[in-house]
Symmetry: C2
Subunit: 145 residues, 2 copies
């Protein structure tokens, strides 16, 4: 799968570890930055990831910041992105099954690397359930704001 990943400075170590993990699993990974630990603004990287998903450059995205909260807000500004902020695998699986989430968001200061990998496994390994969930997901692409 082609997967884009973006973070802020608080999550660059987790980003590096998850890039290695995803590549070991055989995925194509686009690292959208940042490249160093210098302080950056999470919305810049969240928007970059949302655009990559909306353009179809990547099938799935991974969004990381200290808590995962700020970058998940930014990614969800894009009507074509559906980012689920999770801290355990059940939510990660439900986000795929019910919401057809195409981005998983996690907090580098709140969960550890093994929990992050377990969430990623559930996110990548669960199919969208369709059916009654489909019209709801369609509405997310056409926001009434």
């Amino acid at each position: 799968m082609r997967i884009a990943i973006a973070s802020d400075h608080a999550a660059i170590e987790l980003k590096a570890a998850l890039i290695d993990y995803l590549r070991e699993l055989g995925h194509d990974v686009d690292d959208l930055g940042p490249e160093t630990a210098e302080s950056v603004d999470y919305p810049d990287f969240g928007y970059r990831l949302g655009q990559a998903i909306a353009r179809g450059d990547a099938e799935r995205g991974v969004a990381l910041c200290g808590s995962g909260i700020g970058i998940s807000m930014a990614v969800n500004r894009n009507p074509k992105s559906r980012a689920a902020l999770v801290s355990e695998p059940l939510s990660a699986a439900l986000s795929r099954e019910h919401n057809n989430a195409n981005v998983i968001a996690m907090g580098a200061r709140l969960i550890g690397i093994e929990m992050a990998k377990a969430c990623l496994d559930a996110f990548l390994g669960t199919e969208f359930g369709g059916d009654r969930h489909a019209p709801r997901v369609d509405k997310l692409s056409n926001p009434d704001i």
Copy 2:
């Protein structure tokens, strides 16, 4: 504080319990629906809440669905809404301190009533930290999508 609350059918019992709790605390609560357990689409109620926040009808919002994921995506489509999906109080507090979150999202099928109340207490009781966080939050209101 004036607080608007919205959910889907999966969370109407939690919504009712949190409305009681917020009123006991002395808050003004606007129930944006739904009123019955009949199946509805969470984006409709998420958009309604995002609009109430954007118009200034309420200072804060509470968004509930089965997992909290779908409705948090919908609320975050509105550039004036900043919804944090949380399952424990630390994230709820961080969402205020770092992201100036104006909406808290929770999953009725994932956390219990006492945890939801503890999250709400942290969300309502924590001030925005401003400072370096302010320009980042400003960027969330002017999305580059």
